[in-house]
């Protein structure tokens, strides 16, 4: 078995790069999805559009939309249509915005995917949304939240004209693509490279703790706190885990203007 590669060591924090050979096929699955996103040759199209297009093929669904909350973290904030692969996907986002109900909204509230293999079963759950979606010819909906703890940015909403469940592998793809979409949204609102994706898959619990600390110290939102920690790590060329560990141990306090 190959030894892991030690890439950074500081105090008691050791960051070790994952060995690509290890783990179940799922780890390769994530890498494959990232490679597909990076290598489709259409760099002009925004990352979110490419994520939606990849979701259509990986989940074998008819269409996909990404909805973003206007005020991240506040579910009541006005939703803005970010991307949709077709007119029906756009219509589903519009329905959820207008009615204030639906699978995407629910996924952001619960922080978990909302999987509805047969929309006919959802009449009691979302009466108005279900009626409207069925009129548009939708048979199944699957929503995955763009979420990290209390930081909810929106949802990746997939639909299929025919009913039927997703396979475990397709669910896994949906979760990974939603994670990548979360990163793409954060990258889009900072100066980071648009393809700066994949860091959440390795995220350490201390990053979440540090985010809470910075939020409280600076009286900012949790999302803003995470972005400041990321920006600091970027500017100082340090691994995110190392910066987080220093914040948790009180060896580092971010300045308000950092």
């Amino acid at each position: 078995m190959p030894r892991p590669e030690r890439v950074w060591e500081a105090e008691h924090v050791v960051v070790v790069r994952r060995r690509p050979t290890e783990g179940p096929a799922m780890q390769d699955h994530r890498l494959r999805l990232r490679a597909l996103l990076a290598g489709d040759g259409t760099r002009a199209s925004p990352a979110l559009a490419r994520i939606c297009a990849l979701a259509v093929s990986e989940l074998a669904v008819t269409g996909v939309g990404v909805t973003l909350l206007d005020q991240p973290g506040a579910i009541d904030g006005q939703q803005q249509l970010a991307r949709a692969t077709d007119a029906v996907a756009a219509q589903l986002e519009d329905l959820q915005f207008t009615l204030g109900e639906g699978p995407g909204r629910e996924s952001v509230v619960t922080g978990a995917p909302v999987l509805v293999p047969d929309l006919a079963d959802a009449g009691a759950r979302w009466p108005a949304f279900t009626a409207g979606a069925q009129l548009a010819g939708v048979g199944a909906v699957f929503s995955f939240p763009l979420q990290l703890g209390t930081i909810g940015l929106g949802s990746l909403d997939c639909y299929r004209t025919s009913p039927g469940s997703l396979s475990p592998r397709q669910v896994s793809s949906g979760l990974v693509l939603a994670e990548l979409a979360f990163e793409a949204v954060l990258a889009a609102v900072t100066d980071h490279a648009p393809d700066d994706l994949g860091w959440i898959s390795d995220i350490h619990v201390e990053v979440h703790q540090a985010t809470g600390i910075v939020m409280h110290q600076q009286s900012i939102s949790m999302r803003e706190a995470l972005m400041r920690i990321r920006a600091f790590a970027y500017a100082h060329e340090l691994p995110l885990a190392v910066v987080a560990s220093r914040i948790v141990d009180r060896r580092l306090t971010l300045d308000a203007d950092e």
């Binding site: 978990a112 995917p113 703890g149 979440h208």
Partner: protein, 257 residues
């Protein structure tokens, strides 16, 4: 097993069954489970990791939120008894971690650094799926005995039944939703620990214990209380106040034989 031990076991089973009510909080339940494992099985520490459906393992509960124990559980996303246990669906035992460096190159140094010398992991199995693993950790050089591990397996089975019970799940869709909710709630708890730690100048273990004590004494769900803390709407002073009758729960110690 003596009478006293049997009585304790019976009480734990009743307590776990009692938590399986409508307003069930999976993380709270797993947190109770690992606490009771430490007391009943006479191990130093216990934790639960869950499969995240994306190919990884995530810590869901730990008998103490000391950074070192959390790290011992977190590192098992890379290698260690829990990862092997989830992959194989079989229990994994090691009575001498120092001899396992080649088997678990990432886990062993972290575990030894934290003072653990023996470990076992039992699967949380739901029909054909292994959804996670219960990890028992020992500082002592004592042999990991079968009886203790079997009892651990029994408690893990109770926990797994609990997960099913919540929503009569013979349904992979609901199971995925429930596990993902729990994993996201765990992130919320970490964010909330950070907020409380910054507010009160306390460490993460204190912050978690304050959160859990407050939730229990005010009959709130742990996950919901953590959310209000992380969203900045909770009364942090009230949560951090030491309860009038008692002190914050300290890290469980090994009970003398």
């Amino acid at each position: 097993m003596n009478d006293q031990h049997e009585q304790r076991l019976a009480r734990v089973l009743v307590e776990l069954a009692d938590t399986l009510v409508d307003d069930f909080d999976l993380l709270e339940f797993l947190s109770t489970l690992v606490q009771r494992c430490v007391e009943l099985l006479n191990v130093t520490a216990a934790g639960v990791v869950l499969a995240d459906q994306k190919g990884g393992l995530r810590m869901a509960a730990a008998s103490s939120e000391q950074a070192r124990l959390v790290e011992v559980l977190a590192v098992q996303a890379d290698d260690g008894p829990c990862l092997d246990c989830v992959h194989t669906g079989e229990r994994v035992l090691s009575a001498d971690l120092a001899a396992e460096t080649a088997r678990w190159p990432r886990f062993v140094p972290v575990a030894l650094e934290a003072g653990f010398h023996a470990a076992s992991a039992v699967p949380m199995r739901l029909r054909h799926n292994v959804i996670g693993s219960l990890n028992l950790l020992h500082t002592g050089p004592e042999v990991v005995d079968e009886a203790r591990v079997s009892l651990g397996q029994a408690l893990a089975d109770v926990a797994t039944i609990g997960i099913l019970q919540q929503r009569a799940v013979d349904n992979s869709t609901l199971l995925i939703e429930q596990l993902q909710t729990a994993l996201n709630s765990r992130v919320v708890i970490e964010q909330a620990k950070g907020v409380l730690s910054a507010h009160g100048g306390v460490d993460m273990d204190r912050a978690f214990n304050a959160l859990r004590s407050h939730a229990r004494s005010h009959n709130l769900r742990l996950s919901e209380l953590a959310r209000t803390v992380a969203e900045g709407t909770a009364d942090l002073n009230a949560i951090l106040a030491v309860p009038p009758h008692g002190r914050p729960i300290v890290e469980p110690r090994r009970r003398p034989q």
